[in-house]
Symmetry: D2
């Protein structure tokens, strides 16, 4: 919504990177609202996010690549540019547990998530009424052991047809195949209902219950083709006790999953995340 531009940069550190970026924006009469730069690791890898007002900026953003590209190239920058008022097209994959789905839809409608949801896919019809309530397209694609390749092909077609920029797995209970992941070139965000890397895989609440942990977790992460192993975006926790049954864990987990997933989605669509060394850098 905001009329701003966001520049994300990562590269081996060298002198003058901040000066070059700030000077470039100033030269075109941009007013920088946020400048955040840090260095990671022993090797001091350079990581930066810069956001500036486009009101008064005297460079047409269509020409940004041509103007900034050569400078960035000379300094070895790995960069991307985004517009604050661009609304990413997000697809939601859901299953029977609809709390994350309903939560995302409500947040988007109330203005908290500046994105569009042109596509909801579920392997169960149950959540359709929520999609209908918000006037959003809802596709039921059942997935079984046998039809998985065809189901994923159908999903990929819908993603392409709807020009989707990011997929959110909102407690989607199916594991995406490596094929799917390699064929969909855009980010996929998943919510896993445990404190990763504890309790990878199936039934994490049951695992947590059996282990007797005192704190329940949830983890939002980017999907890679190793299960539950992608870069972690956000995590949250809630205390549990011996009085909590497995059912109580499931209920306490729901609030956690909603908050952790929605925060991860928000940071992603607001261009606050850099990926570096299988980790995320979050510019909050």
């Amino acid at each position: 919504m905001k009329n701003s531009a966001i520049l994300l940069v990562q590269c081996p550190d060298r002198k003058g990177l901040d000066a070059t970026i700030a000077e470039f924006i100033y030269r075109h009469d941009g007013n920088i609202r946020h400048f955040e730069q840090h260095q990671a690791g022993e090797e001091r890898y350079y990581l930066a996010r810069v956001e500036w007002d486009l009101g008064g900026f005297r460079l047409d953003m269509k020409d940004f690549d041509a103007a900034f590209g050569p400078i960035a190239h000379r300094l070895g920058m790995n960069w991307c540019i985004a517009l604050g008022n661009h609304r990413p097209r997000v697809a939601i994959f859901a299953s029977k547990h609809d709390h994350c789905l309903v939560d995302l839809l409500y947040r988007q409608r109330s203005g908290e998530l500046a994105c569009d949801f042109p596509l909801i896919i579920s392997n169960h019809p149950d959540a359709k009424r929520h999609a209908d309530f918000y006037g959003l397209p809802f596709h039921v694609i059942p997935v079984t052991g046998e039809n998985k390749p065809q189901a994923e092909a159908q999903q990929l077609e819908l993603l392409a047809a709807n020009n989707i920029g990011v997929v959110v797995l909102a407690r989607y209970m199916q594991v995406l195949s490596s094929d799917f992941i390699s064929q969909f070139p855009m980010p996929i965000i998943n919510i896993h209902h445990s404190f990763l890397p504890a309790f990878v895989g199936a039934k994490p609440h049951q695992q947590a219950y059996d282990r007797g942990v005192k704190i329940l977790g949830a983890t939002a992460h980017y999907v890679t083709d190793v299960l539950d192993d992608g870069p972690i975006i956000e995590q949250g926790v809630v205390r549990i006790s011996h009085k909590d049954s497995l059912e109580d864990l499931v209920e306490k987990g729901r609030d956690l999953e909603k908050i952790v997933l929605s925060r991860a989605v928000r940071w992603h669509i607001e261009n606050r995340i850099l990926l570096y060394a299988n980790k995320t850098v979050i510019f909050e």
Copy 2:
């Protein structure tokens, strides 16, 4: 310090357990201050902690076993009795990282921990000045790959000679052998500097740093002969970010470890812990 008795009971549930316990105490003119009973699992296993004033209680506690034992036996109770003013004799094992050790000593001195520390053992001499400050015996027993059996034999002798009832591993960096664990029949409490079961074993901070988690944990647990696998007593967490170096994790972890370990020790010495199904039940 408190002139009270604490009864811990666990057994398969049946009708009349609470009535029998409460009636027994009332019959001897005891005044129950806390009665907490819950049931765990599908099978509704009975778990209870009852604390009553001994002022006015007309049964000599020396005779408690003889009086209550047959009743408990008839109902299939697994039980133990403790006195509120009994001060457990606790041995602390420490290494170079002395923050947990110093914290425990301070808390004990300030009255927060109602126990005695007749024995501190370390494989490094560094922390001796803290033991001296509090006037506590400090034994340096270096441990190497070669001398481990002898070192542990020496430790076991000291534990026996000092009539120790519980060992606290306060960031003791050595793994106790199965032999040691089987020869020391009393509980051993360890603090592991991760959110177990994530990051078992060596260098959990490094593991957490490499995995890019957003929350750092610490876990106090009873030691069994499977490494970092015993019943969890308490866990705590603190948020971290990409700005935190490995060194920052170590520092943030220190506060966590102090609080989590001291809470576990306190619950143990206040007889607030029941062990059930490789889990702890905490009567806070």
Copy 3:
């Protein structure tokens, strides 16, 4: 839903209270699932919650008062009895900010809140579509400085006509008059969007922003005729920073308010709350 009975007791402490209660239940073949008793204050005021299975209980609950009343009277107990499968009739009062309303409706539908919502009243029509979605009656009663007495009379009529047992103010932005409170004899639960007693009254988010606090709070409490002064049921917090605008506070507050209010409502309808000395005792 559960076929259980819940007894809440408070009174000056004396010996034999636990024994009397447990023995009474056992005598009628009840199986106690949870027994929790504590004592508050210097004077050791007795506070207890006991829940037992009604399967096999050989006293018709219609006769409970007659059977237990005289015993309780003799011991000076202040008590109440509830049935686990009784679904309280809850009225929700809402305004424009509908996040708490929508959250409560979703939780009730998903089985987390074992109550019914036969009545929703709002001074704005906006949230009607959510009530419609869940098939619940929605009444718009605009409130102005002038019509307040008439509006409240209309509200009281609806409460009486619908046999309401508890009112939940789900970010209802009107202050209820003393008249209303004295004429409605049942509990009223409010969510105040600050950490009470900080930021009493209007615009607590603005007050928090102006004061520069580092943590944002929300408080669920029973309503008394002193504004924001009733017994606190639950509180929650979330960290904020100088980067957060007032708008960010409002958004961060929403998650907090939903969780804190729904937890308070749940504890209330599950008969987990005792009122004592203008405080709540929560049997979690």
Copy 4:
């Protein structure tokens, strides 16, 4: 310890501020390690912290003011410069409750706080043994209603004689007079054992206990001549319940106070705090 320079800047926003700062540092061959800039309020007030390596920086820091001053003046900047390896001289004021004092001394010794403690003042002799343990000067200055002006004069003399840059009130139970505050021109950091602005003034734990709050707080803030009203640096919370006595609150508060105060002191001595509009901006 670090060979770096830290520049803190605040001023009305205008274009080119980041560019000017970054370019100035680059021109002298400085390598910026952290650049963090945000804008506060409706008016978008400019707030920045920049830290760069002095290794290779070709401007003698003695000449920094002369070189940067005119530039900053031209742009209306309110600024200050600090050296990363400068160890501030911190005085601690303590009373009987010595947990914060002992905690600060331990953290400093373990390298967590890069400052010196050339002066500890207490109105009670009790904590002297801790100062002795760390080899630090300890002055007992009793304060009564009558001798307060003389006591404060003595304190001010010691502060001046020891060239103190910041005073930390580590649960110092005396209120400093306006006179003292106006005569000591350097910052004073206090820890108040409540979640300000709740429970201002005396006995906040008692106030919290009486009000029945469910969460206990602690607040570190700069001292102004309005009691407990200065800019808040950091706050922390811990859950409490009806089971907690006043004594329990005091104990739970201790951990909170140690963590919150030490974090505030650390941020202060690491030049991570800007004061703006009676609030603090924390560059974590």
